[in-house]
């Protein structure tokens, strides 16, 4: 992927994102000087640059306002880390300055660097010295092994088995066409359209299932986004603390204590969950700060993979609760799972929980395990299996491309379009699938390896 373009201008923050005294932003590639001149003052003339010399520069916004007084060091190709024209820009480490500078760079044509892209370019341009190169050699070894495990090219994993079977299916479907196209002496009988379409359809569904496993696979990789919501004071923060295992949110009996979205991650049954405790959905909130908090809660619900709607057993169901529930139901995404859970089982009940629904007490811990089981089930349910899940964005993209090509092949075959077009689409799907199976153009694999470097180095 890195290789799609090895010359264009890339930019990235090389130091950490957290507040620090100084931040380092690096640029590398074509038109480096020209591009940064759009937001640096004084303008720099490429011919007058003294490579490696520290220069005072001002970062200026589109409106001409001063963003920061910074220091810049230019390097001219081939004498730089990447072998290309480069700028190292040292600015003050405020998140605002960093973000603003990066967005200016993007605006004027620099692309956000992919992980490892600077080092990758250094390699492509033959810039690394002997020991560094050997270090990278070792790295390639280790990273290749990692890929063994993670997903693909190496056998055994369910995913690669599946990919192999798709490849075989595509190859066999393709062969049916190729043999007819190349058959000078009409030895081969006509294609049985009905059964051929059925096979294409089956393949389409297979690939589609794998592609859609990405949603969940990716979810597992990055953490299941779980939002806890409910009326003020129904026990959301206590639940978050229970699930996360320690006090995080400030708990108080006063409605509206949680004014912002509180986030916490926890591992349940081996899956990663990130929990957000939202401000209560108090529609009558008058406090501006609380209102803002509710706004943010809405946003969180929209993005959630799982929404836990907490109902307080010690209170009767109020009109507000009903409204809030309807509100959440309407707000959450179609694919998100909604769990209704009844809290405060340790207190005297003001109502009966719905049969079969989880009941818990954050105080005593009763019912928490059951709730965790329900959460874990979400990750493991149905056809979904972690071992065959597509967790890499690249694999997902390849599968989606393959799927798209198979769909086109199907359409063309369905409407009796020219055979070589169906074949061409199958060839494309094969090359997309090939990218996963490891039978890829090598530069992509190499790029993948380098992407395991941290950004900016």
């Amino acid at each position: 992927m890195l290789l799609k373009n090895t010359e264009d201008l890339i930019v990235s923050l090389s130091s950490g994102l957290e507040k620090s005294a100084v931040a380092l932003i690096r640029f590398s590639g074509k038109d480096c000087v020209k591009t940064v001149n759009f937001f640096l003052n004084p303008k720099v003339e490429k011919s007058k640059i003294v490579p490696g010399q520290i220069k005072k520069v001002k970062i200026i916004s589109e409106e001409g306002e001063l963003i920061d007084n910074a220091l810049g060091v230019f390097y001219i190709s081939p004498k730089s880390y990447t072998g290309q024209d480069m700028l190292e820009l040292f600015c003050h480490g405020s998140p605002y300055i960093i973000k603003k500078t990066l967005s200016l760079a993007h605006k004027y044509g620099a692309r956000q660097a992919l992980p490892g892209e600077f080092t990758f370019r250094a390699y492509i341009n033959g810039k690394l010295n002997l020991s560094q190169a050997e270090a990278v050699n070792d790295l390639i070894n280790s990273e290749t092994e990692k890929q063994h495990k993670a997903a693909i090219s190496q056998l055994k994993g369910d995913l690669s088995e599946k990919i192999k079977s798709y490849r075989e299916k595509i190859i066999s479907l393709l062969a049916e066409l190729e043999v007819r196209i190349d058959d000078t002496y009409e030895e081969v009988s006509d294609l049985d359209k009905k059964s051929y379409l059925a096979r294409l359809e089956e393949l389409k569904q297979d690939i589609s299932r794998s592609a859609s496993s990405f949603e969940k696979g990716n979810l597992i990789k990055k953490g299941v986004n779980t939002v806890i919501c409910g009326l003020p004071n129904c026990g959301k923060s206590s639940l978050l603390n229970r699930l996360a295992g320690y006090e995080r949110a400030i708990v108080s009996p006063i409605a509206g204590t949680t004014r912002d979205v509180v986030e916490e991650t926890a591992e349940i049954a081996g899956y990663k969950f990130s929990f957000s405790d939202t401000a209560g959905l108090n529609k009558n909130a008058k406090d501006e700060v609380e209102k803002e908090g509710i706004k943010r809660s809405e946003k969180a619900v929209k993005k959630a993979d799982i929404v836990i709607f907490v109902r307080d057993l010690s209170q009767k169901e109020s009109k507000e609760e009903k409204e809030a529930f309807e509100f959440v139901t309407a707000l959450k995404s179609d694919t998100a799972k909604l769990i209704e859970a009844f809290s405060k089982s340790d207190l005297p009940k003001a109502r009966e929980p719905k049969t079969g629904f989880p009941v818990f007490s954050s105080l005593t811990g009763e019912g928490i395990e059951r709730l965790k089981d329900i959460l874990a089930d979400f990750c493991a349910d149905g056809n979904f299996s972690y071992s065959s899940a597509v967790t890499s964005l690249r694999h997902y993209e390849s599968l989606s491309e393959a799927l798209c090509a198979v769909e086109k092949a199907y359409e063309n075959a369905f409407k009796n379009g020219p055979m070589e077009i169906t074949a061409e689409n199958l060839r494309q799907s094969l090359s997309s699938i090939g990218e996963i199976a490891g039978e890829t153009v090598p530069e992509d694999i190499l790029a993948e390896i380098f992407s395991n470097f941290c950004v900016g180095k």
């Binding site: 033959g126 290749t144 190729e178 000078t184 002496y185 530069e443």
Partner: protein, 592 residues
């Protein structure tokens, strides 16, 4: 025997006057080099030893490419054809392929005339016996009559003649083709110089007397009307004023299969006489019966061999079964019930040289100045042979003229696909062209061969400058038509505006796919830019497997793209190579 050193020193010697040899000799003379063509027999120049057809799926595209590059095959076919048929018309234009049956005698005579007529070319009837080497330096060729022909380059196009053995059932005898003696010492001479040698097999069916065929039981395959000529230089109207002959189709019966199954042991193939590999894609009838037992019947095409003969070629019944079995097979087919075999089918085994020993120019990596083309490189088919002859000839000339070699890319021409396959993958069965071998099939069509390649022909001197202006006008029409403008109707010269319109229309039909192809081609160029030094020592790289080390050391790829197409190399190995080459380059730059 007295040694006679031929007084004139030539630029290029071509051995063999088959389809490869004729192309090689003619292009060399056309490019202005003094050329001598040595053939065993002037009366078998451009002999169509097997079927009477030129073209076919994948092959028709090659003939068009040969024509676009300044070769002879298309022109000679148009002069000799007795039937034209465009194949794959039920499919799209990319896989539509022209084919023509020729009068075999006319094909021979027309080619002989073309050779005789060519300036700078001398033809001589003699037999090349061995390479004339001084140390490891190739001086020329020594003939069977002890004549020494000296030249700067030698192109060998020996077809099936090197140690050829013919089999009809269990009856076998040495021969390069029926009635022609094989050539034995030349093969040893090349082998002794260190070129890896192998053995392949091919075959041909029986021929029948047309008077004894019941055509009323056959399906008639009328020639196309109008016929589309192969060559740009053929006048289409004149061509279509000629008379063409039909071909005929019939089928094998259940009984045919039974006869074959019962008499397998009578044949050379299943009787254990032949061990070398034949073409999977052009199987003998016994192969078809054994390997596809569920097929109840197989097509047979009856193709006339000429205007002045009743001899018919029985396409589909290639065999090395005994003559007795062949008689029974023919009898079992209703239309051929009373048909008389006038020549039996036979199989032939012959020596070939591993094409992996060649450079992409078809020059030997082991003996500089020696070029090999055609079946001697493990291919099958007149068209494949001719294309190699042409490319070997062009590259031999370019080398003598100290110009850049002409290496066609896989996305430029079928010829490029073929040579790339031969050099990087080698052969384990006779190689024939298919459209499925081409990754960029939709952009490499028979209708745009001239648009793809004729510019190259001009650059190397194979297209005369007077014609070039006509070609440029044609290109202009094509470019305008691609922008949907059709303001020019006529072009002065051989190129026809209607073809330009057709090519533009077909581009448009595939445009989304062609765009994608172009992107892929751009992407692949990255690897091409990473060149590998010629003296690169693979042995020292511990990350490479022994197999990879051997293959790389033997094939000496010029860049990473060539290396990546060598089968058996893993991606990890290509990556190591990349890193190491860059490391070396980085170190070298620092050193400087």
């Amino acid at each position: 025997m007295n040694k006679f050193i031929y007084p004139q020193k030539y630029d290029i010697t071509v051995i063999g006057a088959g389809h490869a040899g004729c192309e090689a000799a003619l292009i060399c003379s056309k490019l202005g080099l003094q050329t001598i063509l040595i053939t065993q027999n002037l009366d078998t120049i451009a002999q169509m030893s097997c079927n009477p057809s030129i073209g076919g799926v994948g092959k028709g595209q090659i003939v068009k490419e040969i024509d676009a590059l300044g070769g002879i095959m298309g022109i000679n076919t148009d002069k000799s054809a007795l039937n034209y048929h465009m194949l794959n018309t039920s499919r799209g234009p990319a896989v539509r392929s022209p084919r023509a049956q020729c009068d075999k005698k006319l094909y021979h005579l027309n080619m002989k005339f073309a050779l005789e007529e060519a300036e700078n070319l001398r033809i001589i009837q003699d037999e090349a016996q061995e390479l004339w080497l001084e140390g490891s330096c190739l001086k020329g060729i020594k003939s069977a009559r002890n004549v020494f022909y000296e030249s700067k380059a030698v192109i060998i196009t020996s077809g099936t003649f090197l140690k050829g053995i013919i089999h009809i059932g269990h009856f076998s005898f040495p021969g390069g083709r029926y009635n022609d003696p094989p050539s034995s010492s030349l093969s040893d001479s090349i082998s002794q110089a260190g070129v890896k040698r192998g053995r392949l097999k091919t075959g041909t069916p029986m021929r029948l007397n047309g008077r004894t065929i019941d055509f009323s039981l056959c399906e008639k395959q009328a020639p196309d009307s109008p016929a589309e000529p192969f060559s740009v230089f053929t006048d289409k109207e004149k061509l279509n004023s000629r008379i063409f002959l039909p071909c005929w189709i019939t089928r094998t019966e259940k009984e045919t299969a039974e006869i074959i199954s019962k008499n397998l042991s009578s044949g050379a193939l299943y009787g254990g006489k032949i061990s070398s590999l034949g073409p999977r894609y052009c199987p003998s009838i016994e192969d078809k019966i054994v390997k596809f037992p569920h097929h109840e019947t197989h097509h047979i095409f009856l193709e006339p061999e000429g205007f002045q003969t009743l001899e018919y070629y029985v396409n589909g019944l290639s065999t090395s079964l005994s003559e007795e079995t062949q008689t029974l097979i023919v009898k079992s087919i209703p239309a051929l019930k009373n048909a008389q075999i006038i020549r039996p089918g036979y199989a032939i085994e012959y020596d070939y040289f591993d094409p992996q020993n060649l450079d992409f120019t078809l020059e030997s990596k082991i003996i500089p100045g020696l070029y090999l083309a055609g079946q001697v490189n493990g291919t099958t088919g007149y068209e494949e042979a001719a294309a190699q002859g042409l490319m070997a000839g062009i590259n031999a000339c370019l080398k003598i003229k100290r110009e850049e070699p002409l290496i066609l890319k896989r996305h430029e021409a079928y010829i490029g696909v073929m040579i790339d396959d031969l050099i990087t993958k080698g052969v384990d069965e006779p190689y024939r062209m298919f459209t499925s071998r081409a990754e960029h099939r939709l952009m490499m069509r028979q209708d745009n061969a001239d648009i793809r390649l004729s510019e190259i022909a001009f650059k190397i001197g194979a297209l005369h400058k007077n014609l070039y202006s006509s070609f440029k006008a044609y290109l202009k029409v094509y470019e305008e038509a691609s922008k949907n403008k059709k303001n020019i109707k006529e072009i002065l010269g051989p190129w026809r505006a209607e073809n330009a319109y057709l090519a533009a229309k077909n581009d448009a039909e595939y445009c989304a796919y062609i765009e994608r192809s172009k992107k892929e081609i751009e992407k692949a160029k990255v690897l091409e830019k990473v060149s590998i030094p010629h003296d690169f020592d693979y042995g020292k790289i511990k990350e490479l497997s022994n197999e990879a080390k051997q293959k790389l050391s033997r094939l000496k790829p010029k860049n990473l793209s060539d290396a990546s197409r060598i089968p058996g190399l893993t991606l990890a190995e290509i990556q190591f190579l990349w890193v190491i080459i860059n490391k070396k380059r980085g170190a070298d730059e620092k050193g400087n």
